[in-house]
Structures are given as C-alpha cells and as structure tokens.
Amino acid sequence: MSHSRRDFLKSVVGTSTLVSLSPAMPTFMQQSALAAGASEPSSDTVLVVVQLSGGNDGLNTVVPYSNDIYARSRSTLRLTASDVHPIDSDLGFHPEMPLFSRLFKDGQMMVVQGVGYPNSNRGHDEALRDWHTARPGQAACQTGWLGRAIDHAERPDEPSVPATLVAPIPMPLALGTQRAVVPSVRSAEKWTLRTDESQRKGLLEAAKQSATDSDNPLAHYVQQSSLAAHATSHQVAEVLRTTDRQDEYPSFSLAKQFKTISELIRADLGVRIFFAELGGGGIGGFDNHANQRDNHAALLRELSISVAAFVDDLNRAKLLDRVLLMSFSEFGRTLSENGRRGTGHGAAAPVFLAGGRLKGGLFGEHPDLADLKEDAPRHHTDYRQVYATALERWLGFPSEPVLGASYKALDLFV
C-alpha cells in the first residue's frame, strides 16, 4: 500500500481505525507483483481496455496512403496524402485524428500493427467472443481473459475490487468471472454510500471495539469490507467534491466513461482494470457496410478527442505513468469496397496503446496488401501476445494460467 493512500485513509477514518483498516486495502497488488517476477511490474498500474464495437476499419484508421493497392481498392473511401496526418512516408492517421497524431509524436501513444489470430472468425458474435475469451473457437468458454485474471488476482481476505465495467453496455464476456463479482459502474457516484456518514462511522467504530465473533473469519471479512466500502465512499466523494473537470471532457459517451475512470483512479480504490466501449454495443457503430466515410469519421473523431482528453487529464494529475489504455476491435475490414460505399468484415487490424510509460512509435509492420487472405490483411502479432504483455508486463499478473498457454510478450514499455 502506498504511503499516500495510507495517509489519506488515516485522515478519513481516524488514527484508531487505521490498524484494522489496513488489511482491507489492496494487498493483492503486492502479492501479484511478487508472483509476476519478469519486468518489474508496478503494483498500482491500471489497464483501461476500450472496445471498438463492430469491427474497426484499420486500413482507414492508420492509412497506407501512398500504397497503390490501397488506392485502387477504395474508390470512394480512399484517403490521400493531403487528407491524413502523416506518421511517415507510407502511413498516416485518419483526418479526424489530429490528436492521435499529437499523442503519437509525444510518445504517449503506440500502434501495434497487424494484430489478429489464425483462422480468425468473421462473424461479429464469434469474433468478439474469441477476443473476449482469448480462447478462439471455444464456444463453451464462459469466462473472459480479464475475468480469469480477476479470479486469479482475487484474494480470500481482500475486499477490493480488481476490475469494473464503466461502459453503458451489458457485462462483456471479457470480464466474465467464475467467482468474483465484477461491478458495473456508470458513474463514480454509484460507488458512494447513500446512508448517513456519521451514523455509519459510529457503527463501524462500535463494531471494531466489540471485536465481534473473533473466531468467525467470515464476520471479520465482512467487517473489513464494510470499512473498505466506507473508505471507498469517502474517497470517491472527496474526488467528486474537489475536482471539477466538467469542461475538460467533451460530451461524448466515451469521454464520459473516461471521466469516470479518471475519477476512480484518483480515488485510489485499487481497481486495476477498467472496461470502456465505443460504438454503442450490440453489432456496433464500426460495422460500416454502407456509407462508411462519414460514420467512421464521426467515430474516430470521438475516439481521438476522448482519448486525448483522458491522457491530458491524467498527465496533468501526474497519473499517466500508472495507466495503460488499450483498444481492440473484433476484426478489421476488407480492403475492397462493397458497392455500398462500405466495407466487409475482415481480419487483422491495429491495436492502439496510450499511456505514460510506452516506448512509442509503431510496433510491427503494416500488413502487406499484396498478400491478403480473403481480401483482408493477415496478422503477424497474435492478440494473445498483446494480452500477455498487458497482464504480465503491465499489471504484473501471470499470463499463462489466464491465456492457457505461454505467449511471448511484446517489448513496449520503458
């Protein structure tokens, strides 16, 4: 537990409670850090996963603007050198993403290109299930990659919450656990108690004095949870009271999710994993089979502005070093247009990473457009490598039991 958090709690609950309160605070971080070994993972790092629902057209997000095959294949959707924000002489960000370009130049963003998996599925439900479970093709799998990490991270004596859904969608399979209960928190207020604070505090104090049923470990555990809930509520209320960043976030749905995540990170509750979403759940806004140009541009604009607002906010609060944002989409799209000014379901696509401890730049080559599989780019980086990187090198969780096999992590962090 960090010193600042201990001091903070001390001021919240008073000195007398501190001793009994400390076991209630996240120790699993330290333990999982020990378990991880590898590359000095920090114990208070946070992973923010952003789902781009519907299959983002990677080819029009990180655009191979000087590529002839690209130019020939996209008669209406083609973006040219004068449209994009160039990364290099071959690639550039979509015209609506000047802020991604800025983050990229500042080293706060990385692009992992060509991410996918062998024999990837091109149906929405199936592909999304594969990305969520990290067990491609296993229809019977009922837990998600993050859910399994949470079940692993949960400690029997530890009432902290390892992960939470922030997006306004049903609980995604990615967060599907076997045992732990993962909350869905659409606004930080939801984490505050509605009961009278002074009465609550009095009752907690009284319970502590009575040392109720000392040989009943369940009673002890519930007691710790009540203290943690009390402290959590206070911390969130403090953050909401003291920070007013209404103006820093635009009114987009994704930006609101990031605002909530930022508040929960500031409140220092020990949540390690947040799940956000863009595209409206369901089949998803990125599924542009028709009239793709304007719709895709609107979504990328929302993505770019929202992510930048989040990164800038965390940076100002000196929290960016603790945060890794990672986007994914169930698949990329076909290179060719479909006659309705849209594109079909594809395969490999780029994954975007943002944070304060990235090496920066592009990771991996842009897929070869002369070597497609059924009109879609092939992958060279398995998505489970990206997951392994996030789990092991960022969160400090062991990845093998979660992913079911050992995947080579990527060298992305400084």
Binding site: P159, A207, A231
Partner: protein, 456 residues
Amino acid sequence: MKRDIANDVDPDWAWSSYQPSESRPWTLAMAGHLYRRAAFGATYSELQQAVSGGPQKTVDRLLRGGEELDAFHHVMDQDELASAKSGNMGSLRAWWLRRMLKTPYPLLEKMTLFWHSHFGISGSRVGDSQLMLQHIRVLREHALGKYSSMLDAVSQDPAVYLGLGAQSSRKAQPNEEFARQLMHRLSLGPGNFGEEDVSEASRAFTGWVVLRGQLRFFDREHDTGVKKILGRSGNWKAEDVLRIVLEQPVAPRMLVRKLYRWFVSEVEDPSDRLLDPLAEMLAKDYDTGRVVETMLRSNHFFSAAAYRRRIKSPVEFALEIVRGMEGTLSTVILSEELAQLGQNLYNPPTVDGWYGGRHWINSATMTGRCNLAHSLFARNGRYGGKLDPTAIASRYGYDDPTASPGFLVALFLQDDLPKSVREELRRTIPSSIDTDGSALRQFASNAAALTEFQLS
C-alpha cells in the same frame, strides 16, 4: 488459533436430533438461524411461533410447507407460464422472486435455487424463456426428492443440453460436454475419472439432439458399440451412464459436501469422517430430502459451527428484509439490482453456478448492499416506500416509538449483536419524535447494513 470446530465433533452426535438443554437452549437466535437457512428469513410471528414450538416442530413445519400449497403453485405456474410465453426472461426472474417471497413452502424454493446453481444452466445460453421455465420446474419437482430421478429428468431436459452447449451429439462426432459436466460437477468431481471415461461416456449420449426446442433421439446417430466407463464395459445408453456414475462411492459424498456448504457452513471444509454418515444415507436411494432433513434437525446445525457461518447471497439478503417487513414490492426492479450484486437469477455466471461465500462481498457489492437496503426502506424511491417498519412494529403491538427499534433488532438480528453496536445503533434514532417514521426507516437500513446481517 483457529479452531477447526466442524471437524472436532463426533459425527454420531453431530447428526443426531438436537434437543434443547440448559447448556444448549432453544433461543430466538436459533429460530432465526433455522429460518435463514431453511427459508428466506422469517416474519415476526414465525419467529415467535418457532420459539414457543421448539426446534423439531419448527423443522417439521418447514419440511412440510404451509397451507394451500397446491392452489398457490397452480396460480403461480399460470402467471409464470403466461410471462414465459411473452418471451421475457427478465419477468421470469421477477416471478421467481415473488414466488420465493410469497410461498408457503420456502424450503422448496431454497432447494430449487440450490439446484439452479448446481446445474448452472443460464438463460442467456438457452435463449428460450419457456425452456428455462420448464428447467426450473424440473428442478423444483425434484428439489427435495431423489437425486437419481433428478438426473434422469435433467437428462431429458432440452434446456440442459442447450445450456451446456451439447445440443447435438452424433455418432461420428460425439459431444463431450454433457458427459464431462456430469462427471466433473454433478457426480464424481475432479480427479475421480479420466479423459477416457468422458469420451467413452459421450458415445452413450450420441443420438440426442435438441431441435426446435425439443429433445429428440435419432437411432441412426446413436453409437451402439461397447463402451468402457469407470472400469465397466457394456453397450451403455445415456441412462446407464447416469446409473454408473451414481454407483461410485465418491458421488454421494460430493453431493453431501455441497449440501453441507449450502445449509451448514462455508467456513471449514468438513472432513470425510464428519460427512460419511450422511453420504451413506444418501448412497442408499439418493433421497436428498432425507439428508436435508437430517442436517436441519441436527445438533451440528444448531451449534456454533454453523451459526452465522455463511454469507448471505444477494437474494437471501434482500428477501429476508422484504419477508421480515411482510411486504411485496417491485420484483422486476429488485431482480435487476440483485443481478448487479452478483446474483442474476436464471443466469448463473458459468456452469459452476454461484460460488458465493466471500466472493459475494467486496467493497463495491458491500456499498451496493447498503444502498439497496437504503432504497428498500426509503419512503420515496424506486420501491415506493412499500416496506413500512412503523406499520409492522405497530402490527405486533410496538406502537411506542421507543420500542419499535428494539422490535426491528429482534426481527432482523434476533437481538444477537455486540453491546457496543446495539447501543450505537440506538443512538442513530434522533431524540425528537419520529412523526413520519423516517427515522425508523433509516434505523432499519442501518441495521441491514451491519456485518451480522450479511451473515446467514
């Protein structure tokens, strides 16, 4: 210095009927304990009746169920079926909660909930509300009956095949899900069978296919060859596999262990020695009702080894409040809030069901429970102030505002609270007169937020 209280005891004594004595008296606290485990909490009159009637008579009543059971089930079944026909899985959750609240036979619903978690069939996988309703009815029908009959019925239940992802098993491509889950979770347990047993048993299930919501058997797709399952060879069919697995001595023990965790304690893992008498009893004819009865009547059940040795599930937490208040409220809203707290009826998280115990509680769900109690009792809010502590206290003669808080502590916590907490709780009632009952509502929600109220 943790004492292993569950495993120090003599099994014979443990499972003998509890008879109150001076050293082990029958108290309000014990009556509350029984109603938490064998029902969804008690009303004040049920508690009083239990205290005066003694433990065995109260268990008799709980095992038998109340008056006009058939009429109750008939009306409920009709309402549920009409809701299921509209295709709305959400309203089925609400109807089940309402049934749990209103039933004259709460033990039956408690056991149905146990089996729902045991089989772990999720509506989101089955995708058909009528099949899900049918599934829960199968579970209810056998809830206190023979486990062997239950497995027979379940093996004819299309929802189970859909829920396990085993809707089609053909000779050329046997689906292993049914056989695997049967051995892994429903009878033998991990380590007590091999991969060979699963694949051989799967051949016995070939030919069973769910088509348009109906389970059908196609002769030509059934593998009629000899299968070797758990060391026994023969041209086994599905029903033979069910018989063979239940004949294994590990099977009754696994089920008894699960029932122990459900009815007695989540704290210690009981020793085989403690469970053996019950396992032997179950092995005879798989009568789960008799094992449940033995547990509920036992010395061990009415001892410190069981008392407050479980964490209430969200459903238990909420329904005990509502039953205690003798009210009815929106079970549609309640079912949604319980899902938020981790218990989404008709949708267990995985086929392993709700693991529960400590996993029900973390700082977020604890906040959620406190806030749920708050809104259940709130005068205005989602539940429309339908639970009225002042009215219930007054119904039992506690009209005086100084007496009604004590009534609530007896009702919800059977007066079993540390002195300091009880005094502090009393202090939360303001000294001024509680003219509109708001202070008592707040008092009630404070009581429901206490550690002791999270324990069953």
